[in-house]
Symmetry: C2
Subunit: 98 residues, 2 copies
């Protein structure tokens, strides 16, 4: 299973971030082809360096790559500039049970 984790740094205006993230970005990202799950953190994140974490899973690394290169993937990535100005660290990996 391939996973993409988007770790958003603390925004200057959390209310504006939430409004755009949940109102615009999530609907855009939901259109990604091959998406098998999409979870978003709520409440505080221990450690404090991030404001919000989103976890998107795909059936395989190939499925994830295709999703990110699709029209919906391009749109979602371009939308980051509209609300994630504080920065976002993206981590992708392919995992199997330990």
């Amino acid at each position: 299973m391939a996973t993409l984790i988007a770790m958003y740094k603390h925004p200057e205006d959390p209310a504006a971030f939430d409004r755009h993230h949940f109102g615009v970005h999530v609907p855009l990202a939901r259109k990604l082809p091959n998406l098998t799950s999409y979870d978003v953190s709520h409440g505080s994140i221990d450690g404090g360096s991030y404001y919000l974490v989103a976890v998107l899973t795909f059936s395989s690394h190939e499925a994830m790559t295709a999703a990110l290169q699709s029209e919906a993937g391009e749109a979602a990535q371009q939308d980051l500039a509209n609300f994630a100005g504080a920065g976002v660290d993206i981590l992708t990996y392919d995992a199997r049970p330990a």
Copy 2:
């Protein structure tokens, strides 16, 4: 669902890291109470700043906190010093479907 992600930086000796991680650390971490899933990355990790990513999930934030404070949790955390000298970033969060 509460998630703990351990992001291991590139070790000086990958073979020794793998030997200890899979041979000692994973068996220790499997003893964590309340653990509902345990996945480990394989293959390359895009972006390159990490060597290996482990993702542990628990039914709730309270279940995760109890697991980390248990005897097994203490043992697993102390074991990090035996193989993760290059550094490990730990991120925990509580997530719900987007």
